[in-house]
């Protein structure tokens, strides 16, 4: 049985370590202590936690002011509210102002499954990717989550990073080294390329197994850094395979699928299938059911990939 991890545990442990090492690291929450698994942080470092209550505009503005005052704020709130409710603050107070604030979006995508589309955050990657100066990271497992956070704490600028409650296996090798703008080929293959990140990267790896059974060699690329994006790896996939499939937990329009489409159009036109949510809100169901429903189950991903080699 493959061991599964809740990356919020990694987030909480890493943030605690960062904040104990550097007392200027603070966390800003909107009553989202439990949902961010920050109960331990609050107990250990209460003076480095700012809880503004249920007030997202104020939350992001306060983070900007803390950065102005020399702090390194991590804003920790459900992705749906952090991105949508506070979007103008994210734009003006963080991105336009060039403040070093890390937006740690909790349980984005469809992680809140049955709670419905109000609580889904399927637009966040698309929105954040359009903000000048914003880095957008979608780590897939504990190792990548920890490394992304440790990079973000030293980066002088705003960072949006997704942290999900969805249980995921470890997919990166022991020697994995995260870097912004750097994708990692997890599995070689020259028939098709599966480009995935976040909670669905392991589904792409499972799809590659299914494709191998059919004699199709699928390259699997870990795309944890959506912005900046690794142009070279995308171009190589375009030139060395017969087509690409992007796989993400969110809207393909403007998300990883959109980012890859832009690279291909500019540098290396190739066939592309974008898997994710189409132009619709998700129906009611668990997160796993919703992903399966939109063809992001291993069989569905494999079927989409197979169309590129037929």
């Amino acid at each position: 049985m493959t061991e599964l991890f809740d990356c919020r545990d990694t987030y909480a442990a890493t943030l605690l370590d960062l904040a104990q090492t550097d007392r200027d690291v603070v966390v800003v929450v909107n009553d989202s202590v439990g949902s961010s698994k920050l109960g331990g942080f609050r107990k250990e470092l209460p003076d480095q936690m700012v809880n503004v209550g249920i007030a997202e505009q104020n939350m992001v503005g306060v983070a900007a002011g803390l950065a102005n005052g020399g702090k390194v704020p991590f804003v920790s709130a459900a992705g749906c509210f952090l991105s949508a409710r506070a979007m103008e603050q994210v734009k003006a107070d963080l991105a336009y102002s060039g403040h070093h604030v890390v937006l740690a979006a909790q349980s984005p995508g469809v992680a809140y499954g049955g709670l419905g589309a109000t609580h889904h955050s399927i637009e966040d990657v698309s929105w954040m990717r359009t903000l000048p100066g914003m880095t957008v990271l979608v780590p897939a497992d504990p190792a990548e989550t920890e490394q992304a956070l440790r990079w973000a704490v030293g980066h002088d600028g705003p960072v949006y990073v997704r942290i999900s409650r969805a249980k995921v296996p470890a997919v990166h090798p022991d020697d994995y080294a995260f870097a912004p703008g750097k994708a990692t080929v997890l599995r070689e293959g020259d028939d098709v390329a599966l480009l995935a990140n976040g909670t669905v990267l392991h589904r792409a790896l499972a799809a590659a197994d299914l494709l191998a059974e059919r004699g199709i060699a699928a390259r699997v690329v870990s795309m944890g850094s959506v912005k900046p994006i690794d142009v070279d790896v995308v171009v190589a996939a375009a030139r060395e395979t017969r087509g690409l499939v992007t796989v993400e937990e969110g809207l393909a329009a403007g998300g990883l699928g959109g980012a890859v489409a832009e690279v291909l159009t500019e540098h290396a036109p190739a066939r592309l299938v974008r898997l994710g949510l189409p132009d619709t809100f998700a129906p009611t169901g668990s997160d796993a059911w919703i992903l399966d429903h939109f063809g992001l189950d291993p069989e569905g991903i494999a079927a989409s990939a197979a169309t590129l080699v037929e």
């Binding site: 603070v26 503005g61 002011g65 005052g69 003006a92 060039g98």
Partner: protein
């Protein structure tokens, strides 16, 4: 006619806390006149601006930047400087002139206002001008930023202060009330919010658009110590900041002002929110300012 406008805006620098009150007031009155002389000409140059609000906030802005706050034009990013956050960012023109008068940058830069590539954007930008604290313009942003700034000082045990300047129309933004709850909850006695109560917003009176009253009661209900002053009375402005904070409570100053003050045909006239003055109107503004600044009895000595 325009040749009359070719005068220099001086670098006045700052006046210290130890200066006698009469000298401080005279200094700030002169600064206020210089700001109001330059502002319409900058707006004429840019073809855009917010002259009414520039004039209503001018005296408080100058008092803070050139006297009251612990800020240094020669070291504009000193870690322990006081923070002045202009939340009503549409009055960037007033901020820029105040900063030029204080010595943050050369006054000749003022006539690049809104030019292509100018650091003097129509709304303030901290990345263009060292000493600007926040990229405001969309309303309701400065107060939360000020709360964060004051919290950082509180966490560090720093004595630095944060002052946020707000428009009264701007108080219709809900984010300000989120920030007020937080400022009170966190006991931010190092935070002062000043509402430029000129009673007019872009298109009409605040009271006719979405009324704020009873604003002082609302401030007290949110846990602030509330002062009401005449925004153009230098002694009142100096006194309210000299009074210092109430222990454990943030301060709200309701600064009763006049949009377009002190020009007869601008004052309290909503049309002057972002009216670009004609050459004739600029001449009239300059003439009124000269008249007001003239030493008493000058007419007799002619």
């Amino acid at each position: 006619m325009r040749s009359n406008w070719e005068f220099e805006t001086p670098v006045l620098g700052r006046i210290g806390k130890d200066a006698p009150r009469a000298e401080v007031v005279a200094f700030l009155q002169r600064a206020g006149t210089e700001l109001r002389r330059r502002d319409p000409i900058m707006i004429d140059h840019a073809g855009n601006g917010h002259i009414g609000g520039d004039f209503s906030i001018a005296d408080i802005l100058l008092t803070l930047l050139l006297h009251e706050l612990n800020v240094d034009p020669a070291d504009p990013l000193a870690a322990d400087r006081d923070r002045l956050i202009l939340s009503k960012g549409h009055t960037a023109g007033a901020l820029y002139i105040a900063m030029a008068l204080g010595g943050w940058f050369p006054p000749e830069d003022l006539m690049t206002f809104m030019d292509p590539g100018s650091k003097l954007n129509g709304h303030p930008n901290r990345r263009y001008v060292a000493g600007v604290e926040a990229n405001t313009g969309p309303l309701g942003h400065g107060f939360p930023i000020a709360v964060g700034s004051a919290l950082a000082a509180q966490m560090d045990g720093s004595s630095r202060r944060t002052v946020v300047l707000l428009g009264d129309g701007e108080m219709q933004e809900g984010s300000n009330w989120e920030a007020m709850m937080a400022a009170s909850h966190f006991g931010l006695e190092n935070l002062t919010a000043v509402v430029d109560r000129n009673r007019l917003q872009q298109g009409a009176a605040v009271a006719d658009t979405m009324s704020l009253e009873p604003l002082a009661d609302k401030g007290r209900a949110f846990g602030f110590t509330v002062h009401e002053i005449d925004a153009h009375d230098h002694d009142a402005i100096l006194d309210v900041f000299a009074a210092g904070p109430s222990e454990g409570r943030p301060t709200l100053v309701i600064a009763h002002s006049h949009k377009g003050h002190p020009i007869s045909f601008m004052s309290d006239n909503v049309a002057w929110h972002h009216h670009v003055p004609s050459p004739e109107e600029i001449d009239a503004i300059l003439a009124e300012l000269d008249e007001l600044a003239a030493p008493a009895g000058r007419e007799d000595s002619k």
